[in-house]
């Protein structure tokens, strides 16, 4: 099961998630609030792409690559036909200052509307835009979040969900209203995360995680070098996919031997790879 890594900019965006997932206040040795629970962790990064990137990197360093990273937050939209409170799944993230664009990969079926999101480094107030088929939201975090998350995870393990909070008109937002929008979108948010998690379970690897544990266990006991470990992994994969069966018995048998010096280690590895070929 994948670890959930949630990143929001503001407490108001985080509170409904904290409540629903039963998260508890976690580490206090960082400048942002972290909440933790059985399903994963959540950071309230503060406003801005850099803050979001820092929090995302921090959580993913701890959580590892078997994670789903999700940025949840509020965004503006220049198109007044788009209702406030409406939730979007983001399919393109553009960074306004660098002109770069990023694409979370959406492999799952869902009922949400999709939109593009442009990240600015400061609040944007502008005249309303004409309705178009390409809905564009504006926020201050998504590009930082995505760039940080993509250093750890493939594109299909990164999600960005945004609720429209304003029409870029500079009107004051009510904290209560914002929280209630996120609150009412919770079922959709969690169901979308579930779907992304299911997709991640379709990933194809040469060996399963249990099989990988056995290989790494043997590499540790035999104190294999990095190159030797790759040789062992290749030999095991080859055996599994050429002969149709993971060589579990051979690996367990090999674990009984403990080489006392490097020549013996090399000899044992050669014997094992020969046996597996």
């Amino acid at each position: 099961m994948s670890n959930l890594v949630l990143v929001t900019a503001l407490p108001v965006e985080a509170r409904p998630l904290v409540r629903r997932l039963g998260l508890k206040q976690g580490q206090t040795n960082v400048r942002f609030n972290v909440f933790e629970g059985e399903t994963g962790s959540l950071a309230v990064s503060g406003v801005g792409a850099n803050a979001s990137a820092a929090a995302t990197s921090h959580l993913l360093t701890l959580a590892g690559s078997n994670s789903i990273a999700v940025n949840i937050g509020l965004a503006g939209c220049g198109d007044r036909c788009v209702d406030r409170g409406r939730l979007f799944l983001i399919n393109r993230i553009a960074d306004y200052s660098s002109d770069r664009e990023f694409f979370p990969e959406i492999f799952f079926r869902h009922e949400l509307s999709e939109a593009s999101c442009v990240t600015y480094s400061k609040p944007v107030f502008k005249a309303s835009t004409a309705p178009t088929e390409f809905i564009e939201l504006i926020d201050m975090e998504a590009s930082g979040f995505y760039q940080a998350a993509s250093a750890f995870l493939p594109a299909h393990r990164i999600l960005c969900l945004k609720t429209v909070s304003d029409h870029l008109d500079g009107g004051k937002l009510s904290v209560h209203q914002c929280e209630s929008w996120i609150e009412s979108a919770m079922d959709s948010i969690l169901s979308t995360i579930d779907r992304a998690t299911s997709v991640a379970e379709h990933e194809i690897t040469g060996v399963s995680s249990e099989e990988s544990d056995l290989i790494h266990g043997l590499a540790k006991v035999w104190r294999l070098t990095s190159t030797q470990k790759v040789q062992l992994e290749n030999a095991v994969s080859k055996s599994k996919w050429s002969q149709g069966e993971f060589p579990e018995k051979e690996l367990h048998d090999a674990l009984q031997s403990k080489p006392s010096h490097k020549h013996e280690r090399t000899e044992l590895l050669n014997q094992l790879t020969k046996k597996l070929s």
Binding site: I106, R109, A155
Partner: protein, 337 residues
């Protein structure tokens, strides 16, 4: 959980929106999510793509090609001895998912890119015809190397356009290589001697194992027979030949089957080549496809290329050429060593 259907998302590059092919494709996939993008390479070449998952849920990118409309042949592509050999890439990637395909090593994405500015391709091809080195021979242009153009014809009708373009340019000869069994899109076209339809032919046991979602060889054979009957020149490509137990028996009976259906006189020519791949492509292919035994076979590197050890390769090709000569005269057989 079921993944999103193919082409659930269509990425449209800015500048490509108004081309007829873009409009037609968006109309056809009216329920697809449309994403307007700055540059197709930002989607296609981005890091962190899962090739295998993408193959199960492919998306389409509609873009405008800016340069390199015609490529000169190189050592890895089959030039059939033509002096003015070139290839182009109206589409990148293929709708099929063959285990040995070099495209999964060449591209970091399994999504399809279709270049919608066909007129720019035509213009560049006219220039290439005019500038070809040997004016006594036509320009031989392979259209379907980094894709299977006929297989995607119902979605992206490039073949029809290129055949009509070829008809108007007498110094152009084109090859459309395919595994498709559907030649219906070409039904209303007058056959053209300068348009070679080339079918990749694989013996059934090998196709079953490594070409799981391509039409089976029997259907390809039917399509080739229909094309011959209609008057199209047909090339048979026994390429890549894949080593397997009893390859001799498997290929021998396959050749018998093919040529019991098609007469050697009717077939324009045939090619034979053992599996070979750029070694860097192979490294990526292996990473993308760790669950196929093919990647663990006894491949040897020679220069930039990976294939069977030379002696084994020569032995196979020699034997297969002998078998093929029973059905086709030698001058119709091109062998890639």
């Amino acid at each position: 959980m079921k993944l999103a259907p193919h082409f659930s998302h269509i990425y449209v590059e800015k500048g490509a929106e108004d081309y007829p092919l873009t409009q037609r494709t968006l109309e056809r996939f009216s329920k697809a999510e449309r994403v307007l993008i700055d540059d197709y390479r930002n989607v296609f070449n981005r890091p962190g793509q899962d090739f295998r998952l993408q193959k199960s849920s492919k998306n389409l990118i509609l873009a405008k090609k800016k340069d390199n409309f015609v490529y000169e042949g190189n050592e890895m592509v089959q030039d059939f001895g033509y002096r003015n050999f070139a290839y182009n890439t109206p589409v990148l990637n293929c709708i099929y998912d063959c285990a040995y395909c070099y495209l999964q090593g060449m591209f970091s994405s399994a999504n399809l890119v279709a270049f919608v500015n066909t007129d720019d391709f035509f213009e560049a091809t006219r220039r290439a015809i005019a500038e070809r080195s040997d004016k006594s021979a036509p320009l031989h242009l392979a259209l379907s190397y980094d894709t299977d153009l006929l297989a995607s014809e119902t979605i992206l009708p490039f073949c029809q356009e290129w055949i009509e373009f070829c008809r108007k340019n007498p110094d152009l000869m084109i090859e459309i290589r395919t595994k498709s069994a559907n030649i219906a899109p070409l039904r209303d076209l007058e056959p053209l001697k300068r348009c070679i339809l080339a079918w990749t032919m694989t013996p059934p046991p090998i196709a079953e194992k490594y070409e799981s979602d391509a039409p089976n060889p029997e259907k390809r054979l039917d399509a080739a027979a229909k094309a011959i009957d209609a008057g199209w020149p047909v090339r048979l490509c026994f390429d890549p030949v894949l080593p397997c137990e009893d390859w001799n028996g498997i290929y021998s009976s396959f050749f018998e089957k093919v040529f019991s259906r098609l007469s050697g006189d009717q077939v324009r020519d045939a090619s034979l080549g053992v599996f070979r791949i750029n070694h860097q492509f192979f490294t990526r292919l292996k990473k993308n496809r760790p669950n196929t035994d093919l990647v663990y076979q006894n491949w040897t590197r020679e220069g930039d290329s990976l294939s069977l050890p030379k002696a084994e390769r020569e032995k196979m090709l020699e034997r297969l050429t002998t078998l093929l000569r029973r059905h086709l005269p030698e001058e119709k057989i091109a062998v890639w060593m």
